[in-house]
Symmetry: C2
Subunit: 330 residues, 2 copies
């Protein structure tokens, strides 16, 4: 294991320290927790707070999306491990200013359980809380840590859409309706070229041959659906867009937003080449691309690979995607 760290036990604490010290104009930390919140919380008094979080190792998710027009706070668990209910509860209390708090949860059993417990704790203190569980990864049903489908990079679109709506003054019920409306329209699928190593474990979660790839791998190295020899970018796009289209059953003229997401070690050069092929393929399908984003946003430590998220959008949703946002990573 070759990593730039000190003690593997302290990676998250030291990371959060480094993060908050690097960006004090964006983030503050609730001392001795993995909770980071907007430095300018006082400017959004009266708005619904948006909280997300989960295991660490997916940076810049989630903390990189805390800021104007997106998240109010993020809860950083240990690497690939759900944050505890009391940490999530601290985040909820911190960002509630009377209008309630909306939780964006990725669909992993630990996250769902702990966020729900935190929601219960908050409601006992009369804080109104609603939530959505994002399950955008179409690769497999059920997985190492998940009942149903996993929550992956499409969660960032959820952050963006809800963050914009909250900034525009949507109340808690309106945010819930919006989240439920867009949820089935966000779908993701990935391909991995190499695995990642959790610092405390010390060896890769999975390994692939010199010339081998795996379709459908999760962001914690959960198994995908097929291994084969490395293919050119265009062939990867055929496979992944094909799978997504089976789910969406797109019609000509459908509008989509596209996120090409690097898994950690994949150069931007490859992500742009892949996006170019994706846009060609979507044009072939007669889709209208209304929004595009490329970058390593929902990573899996140093995994190499790419995920592709398609989001079937209306003009109103595109407006939210383009809504002014000021965060470290959007």
């Amino acid at each position: 294991m070759k990593k730039i760290i000190n003690d593997p036990k302290n990676v998250v604490d030291e990371m959060v320290q480094g993060l908050v010290r690097s960006y004090p104009e964006y983030l503050e930390r609730i001392p001795e927790t993995g909770v980071v919140y907007r430095h300018d919380l006082k400017n959004i008094q009266g708005q619904v707070g948006i909280v997300s979080g989960g295991g660490s190792g997916h940076e810049p998710t989630h903390a990189g999306f805390v800021g104007d027009g997106m998240l109010s706070a993020a809860v950083c668990g240990e690497v690939f491990t759900s944050p505890t209910p009391d940490q999530i509860f601290e985040a909820i209390k911190k960002v509630d200013s009377g209008a309630g708090v909306f939780l964006v949860i990725k669909n992993y059993s630990g996250d769902v359980m702990n966020f729900e417990m935190a929601q219960d704790m908050a409601e006992m203190e009369d804080i109104k809380v609603k939530s959505i569980v994002v399950d955008d990864d179409i690769a497999v049903e059920n997985s190492t840590y998940t009942q149903g489908r996993r929550g992956v990079a499409g969660t960032i679109f959820m952050h963006k859409v809800l963050g914009a709506a909250a900034a525009k003054g949507a109340n808690l019920d309106e945010l819930e309706q919006l989240a439920q409306k867009v949820l089935p329209n966000i779908k993701t699928i990935a391909v991995a070229l190499s695995g990642a190593t959790v610092p405390e474990v010390g060896k890769p979660g999975f390994t692939l041959g010199e010339d081998e790839i795996e379709y459908g791998v999760g962001i914690h190295g959960e198994p995908g659906y097929r291994r084969e020899k490395l293919q050119p970018s265009k062939a990867l796009v055929e496979e992944l867009v094909g799978k997504l289209n089976q789910e969406f059953k797109f019609e000509k003229g459908d509008q989509v937003a596209v996120l090409v997401n690097g898994m950690g070690a994949t150069p931007l050069m490859e992500q742009y080449i892949f996006m170019n092929d994706v846009l060609n393929k979507l044009a072939d399908l007669g889709l209208e691309v209304k929004f595009t984003k490329v970058g390593s946003l929902m990573t899996s430590l140093e995994m190499a690979g790419i995920s592709l998220t398609l989001f079937k959008v209306s003009d109103e949703i595109v407006e939210n995607l383009n809504y002014a946002t000021d965060t470290i990573a959007w």
Copy 2:
């Protein structure tokens, strides 16, 4: 070689296509060249244009810094290969609106030669051009492709400072004075954990042992100054800040900007941990940190490692670093 590409010969062309199609609100391309320029050039009529560029493989550098308050255009050469003089000349012509064009060149022999030829070509057409050659890498004197010191991640600080000054209305002479003033105050040093593979070459430029690192490696895999066993982050910081301090000879109270830059495959988690240790060390030295940035900004394809840039700053320079900027990657 496991890369998400199609034909190794076409990686730059397909990358630039993907880039411009992903971000049409920022970038346009001069057809059949590697030149990308600001979509809103008409909004900066009368300002000095700022052009940078170089070999590809360092994304998001340079195209990711084209936009309001930074670069007017970027010239993307083949991977790790200088762009041709005629491409640079096209970029100069595109962004000149009468006030002249300032070139930011990284110190590699090919880049210096080709940018100077382009400058000559432009001057023959009565376009005023000035330039700066950035040589911030203190690791070694002379190198595979360089006389003197190499230009690396500190170049991004130069883009930012000059871009802000140009946006505020500085003329060509003022930009030249500013560039010459800040140049000796920007210094960088790196440590590599693994090498990178140029697509057309097909094998890594260098290899390191399972547990080995190399200090001072360049962004094209140029040799550094020492190999040893992997050290904890704190020890890497001791070494790199120590080397930088030998050059700067800091005094208590000196003000600095800090850039921790991932080389491509290094997770943000590690970059934040490293930054945390850097900030501790700079505090020990009595320095006042005025600006911080963390991210994979000047990469070397999928190289793993980090570079550390320190920039001795005045309040005026800090103002330029904080000046409003709208690009894909800053």
